[in-house]
Symmetry: C2
Subunit: 305 residues, 2 copies
């Protein structure tokens, strides 16, 4: 019979990927309150912000303020996404211990996202990763659009492997394959993982998946079958890349945790508490989130006598 990992590690990305596309600016106070509640649910890795151009992503304009006001806690990791040296320097000045540095596998997306070709972006990422590691930071190196691109369609696996190998060479702590456009399917997940693994040796692989076409949890399951035990998820299923049309909806933390627990895979997360946080955060943003399990629970609870 099939063996899934016994334990999965979830990085909660609602504060970065989840919010970056939201028009309504969430205050730093609200963000800090959310962080406290997520930690109380058992989340241990939280992507807190990105150090990017505040004019392009106003939701992340409070990056410094937010990071400076974060209470450091035993066993809790806060990470930030950076896209440039300027961003890395800002993260360093805030004393961030963990950063994520990503390169897109698609030329069109790379140019739109970073104004650089893939080769240029990769060279710059390698430089930034080395600089961050030299400064003692923990670095996740990632490949965006590793499973397809909203602009270009298919992305050759060879391209993903090539970038992964070049990132591996900089000795990051983790390599992440991101389905930025939400185009991955569960068969492809296996194919890409089986091609990337040989070039990334024993560096842990993480997946960042979207549910754009309803395949998010099918992709998680496929990856679990391949032994992957590290996933990015977003509270309520919030999220999406602001530079890619229609690429909405990260996989929802609560739906993912619900699937994991139903299969006997541990996450260390209190599902029912997390659902409470998601439903409360809906009130902050004033809209219904895509997560299914939260609303199912809310409905069943409302029907109780």
């Amino acid at each position: 019979m099939i063996n899934l990992p016994k334990r999965v590690f979830i990085q909660e990305v609602v504060l970065r990927d989840g919010l970056q596309n939201e028009k309504q600016i969430v205050s730093t106070d609200e963000k800090l309150k959310l962080v406290d509640r997520l930690i109380a649910c058992g989340l241990r890795q939280i992507e807190i912000t990105s150090f990017v151009n505040p004019h392009l992503v106003p939701q992340m304009a409070d990056a410094e303020d937010l990071c400076n006001r974060l209470k450091q806690r035993e066993g809790i990791t806060f990470s930030a996404l950076i896209l440039s040296e300027k961003g890395l320097n800002r993260a360093m000045r805030c004393g961030m211990s963990h950063v994520g540095v990503y390169v897109s596998a698609s030329e069109t997306h790379s140019r739109r996202n970073s104004n650089r070709s893939v080769a240029e972006a990769l060279a710059e990422a390698r430089r930034l990763i080395r600089k961050a590691r030299h400064a003692g930071m923990n670095v996740r190196a990632g490949v965006m659009n590793a499973f397809g691109c909203a602009y270009e369609g298919k992305v050759p696996v060879g391209k993903v492997t090539e970038i992964s190998e070049a990132l591996f060479d900089t000795e990051p702590d983790e390599i992440c394959l991101a389905d930025t456009s939400g185009l991955g399917n569960p068969l492809q997940i296996k194919e890409v993982l089986n091609r990337v693994r040989p070039v990334t040796d024993d560096i842990p692989l993480a997946l960042h998946l979207h549910n754009t076409r309803g395949l998010g949890l099918a992709n998680v399951f496929s990856a679990l079958e391949e032994g992957i035990f590290s996933f990015d998820t977003s509270l309520g299923g919030l999220g999406g890349c602001p530079f890619i049309e229609g690429a909405t909806g990260n996989i929802a933390t609560e739906d993912t945790v619900s699937m994991l627990h139903s299969m006997g895979v541990e996450s260390g997360i209190d599902l029912s508490a997390l659902i409470g946080v998601s439903l409360d955060f809906e009130k902050v943003l004033g809209r219904i989130f895509p997560s299914l399990i939260s609303h199912l629970y809310a409905r069943l609870k409302a029907d109780e006598p």
Copy 2:
């Protein structure tokens, strides 16, 4: 590498499971129009109605009228769900060639759905299947709540195996395992299939899945890995059991087809035509359906210059 089936057969259940829970009554004319459009998209198996108590399920009150007005077409199968001898007799009088007869694996659900214990319902189902087969009908025998019950929680696999074996004994043309409460997970799909297959020999197994907790397509993928190539789906993701609270949302035909095609699995269905049918049928019911791919396409199309 993994081998998925090259071709999958989809039974479209929107006219039965999809509509049975909808309060707004869809006219027989609208239903016939929908049938024509579904067939034009390439669907070949359509569950058209159920012969049940019209007072309990008013949406199915036009069963006779609908069946009598159906144009029979080469290569197209219309089937009806029956729950009792009265229902079977009605289906026979309408000249239906295909019927589905289901038994619940949960005592509580069985009593609520049919006012019978599982053992009584199974004995009655076996009698009805034999009668239908004797009359020359093609019969699908099914197990409801095969992956869990909203009332009872876990359903022992042994119970599902036992019922499947008793159904197998009546020589149906197909056996269907239904996740009526939407509680199945992809690991369990494999476990149940691997237990049921030995007792159902070479009779084809079909799956009827719901997306209640967002696991619908993960469950389809898991079943594909096990070689299953027959699935029930519902246009737009409409559906749910009227007798089970919260068990809403069959897997959406268009989302399923989109996943299959992206993995190179054929369905014979024209996805973009089907999305058009789904979006048009939203106007008939006056609400947005749960399908993701339809709205993604609609949004991308709206953004075209």
